[in-house]
């Protein structure tokens, strides 16, 4: 179960697994939505932006409640998922991934949109006059020039997914070995009076968060200094 007497690695490994999957899903959706929002004429742009930003400002219990309603065992999506896979989304590892994805999505989307919109429109215009279609100009000019900002957003999203607590607790529960991520393990250790375990896990999570922030700072500094 653990790595000697020092620390139980299972919650950390679970957190990494959940965060990695969540970041993949959030990146696909987030960058896609960002590309849509960065286009010159989009109907409902502000509404879409508000919907994407909502998870950042809504209380985790509210988000968790909505997800339980939409994905619970009595819901259409929940029943379809269970029929396909044999397990429910809620109170499972899948639920933890959904919770972490919801947390990471706004960060990735907003960073990607800012990066895409920062690309000089004259460069895109130049690409178009040189014969590039809109999609070729996007993938060969806009995306390469925005990649550092997009990557910074993905890293921030990963850090956010790694540390999700409230929504994960609501829809995935705190099941040891199944859905007890590092954040939930810290909560459990504090409740049980195991201060040393809580401290060790907290320090590791802090070190991970600082590493991500330093890397993000390096990436965005490179952009400011020029390509």
């Amino acid at each position: 179960m653990g790595f000697g007497p020092l620390i139980d690695l299972a919650p950390l490994l679970l957190s990494f697994e959940v965060a990695s999957l969540a970041t993949c899903f959030a990146s696909v959706f987030g960058i896609g939505i960002a590309a849509l929002l960065a286009m010159p004429r989009v109907w409902g742009r502000e509404l879409i932006d508000a919907a994407i930003t909502a998870p950042m400002v809504l209380p985790p219990t509210v988000l968790g409640y909505y997800l339980l309603v939409v994905l619970g065992r009595e819901s259409a999506i929940g029943q379809a998922f269970e029929a396909l896979t044999g397990t429910a989304i809620v109170f499972s590892r899948g639920g933890a991934v959904v919770a972490a994805t919801i947390g990471a999505l706004p960060l990735i989307c907003k960073a990607a949109r800012a990066a895409l919109e920062s690309v000089d429109v004259r460069l895109i215009g130049a690409a178009r006059t040189l014969g590039a279609s809109a999609s070729r100009a996007f993938f060969t000019v806009t995306v390469p020039l925005a990649r550092r900002g997009i990557l910074a957003g993905v890293m921030l999203g990963f850090a956010r997914a790694l540390g999700d607590f409230g929504v994960t607790l609501m829809i995935a529960g705190n099941i040891p070995g199944q859905t007890r991520t590092a954040s939930l393990a810290i909560y459990d250790a504090v409740l049980s009076g195991r201060d040393a375990d809580a401290t060790r896990l907290s320090l590791i999570m802090t070190a991970l968060a600082m590493t991500v922030l330093i890397a993000v700072g390096y990436l965005t500094k490179q952009r400011r200094d020029g390509f």
Binding site: L123, G125, A126, R128, T129, V141, G226
Partner: protein
């Protein structure tokens, strides 16, 4: 803006003060800006017609535009920039060969592996022109191509431009507010003011001291 322009093969100059609409006209010809009304034709083909609802996208007009800022792609070296516009029907090796050839014609082959942040003003201008011409356009538009360059370099580059224009039989429209440059280019000059054509004629006649 209310203009009706007809550019023949060879060099034509759009001359006017800042704000007279010169850049907007180039953008409209290139398809980067959609006029509210009017028509743009090239070689008998309609590129834009507000009344008939025709509006070809920029990539289908074969009109190359050299921006005042040059708009060189910072993530590509000179060779990559020039190869970007070479027609896609060619294979990769042929595209690079064409790009090399154009860099040679512009006398900047030594810049092939260098990135735009390392170019001087004149070097960037040559690479931008090579990129535009490598795309085999049916018309070439130049927006204040020699601004921010010293007069000696302007004379050198404008002489080379005239030489290249003579070799190619396509309309080249150059926009400038520099009277000395416009006079020196000896092409047909269209005087613009406040979005309207004031006069059209020879540079020697319209821009005399």
């Amino acid at each position: 803006m209310d203009v009706s322009l007809d550019f023949a093969p060879g060099l034509s100059v759009l001359f006017g003060p800042s704000g007279s609409g010169k850049t907007t006209i180039l953008s409209a010809i290139a398809g980067l800006v959609r006029p509210d009304q009017g028509r743009v034709t090239l070689g008998g083909e309609t590129l834009f017609d507000a009344r008939r609802g025709v509006d070809l996208p920029p990539n289908r007009r074969s009109v190359a535009l050299v921006f005042q800022s040059l708009a060189l792609f910072p993530h590509l070296n000179a060779l990559g920039n020039v190869a970007y516009g070479v027609p896609g029907t060619l294979g990769q090796a042929q595209r690079l060969e064409r790009a090399h050839a154009w860099l040679g014609r512009m006398r900047v082959s030594h810049l092939a592996q260098r990135y735009p942040s390392g170019f001087s003003g004149g070097e960037g201008q040559r690479v931008a022109l090579a990129r535009a011409l490598a795309s085999e356009p049916r018309a070439l538009l130049l927006d204040e191509p020699f601004s921010a360059l010293d007069q000696a370099l302007v004379r050198e580059l404008s002489a080379e431009l005239v030489e290249h224009v003579r070799a190619l039989s396509l309309p080249v429209v150059l926009v400038t507010h520099d009277r000395t440059l416009a006079r020196g280019l000896l092409g047909e000059v269209t005087l613009l003011r406040a979005g309207r054509v004031e006069r059209v004629g020879a540079s020697s006649e319209l821009l005399a001291d």
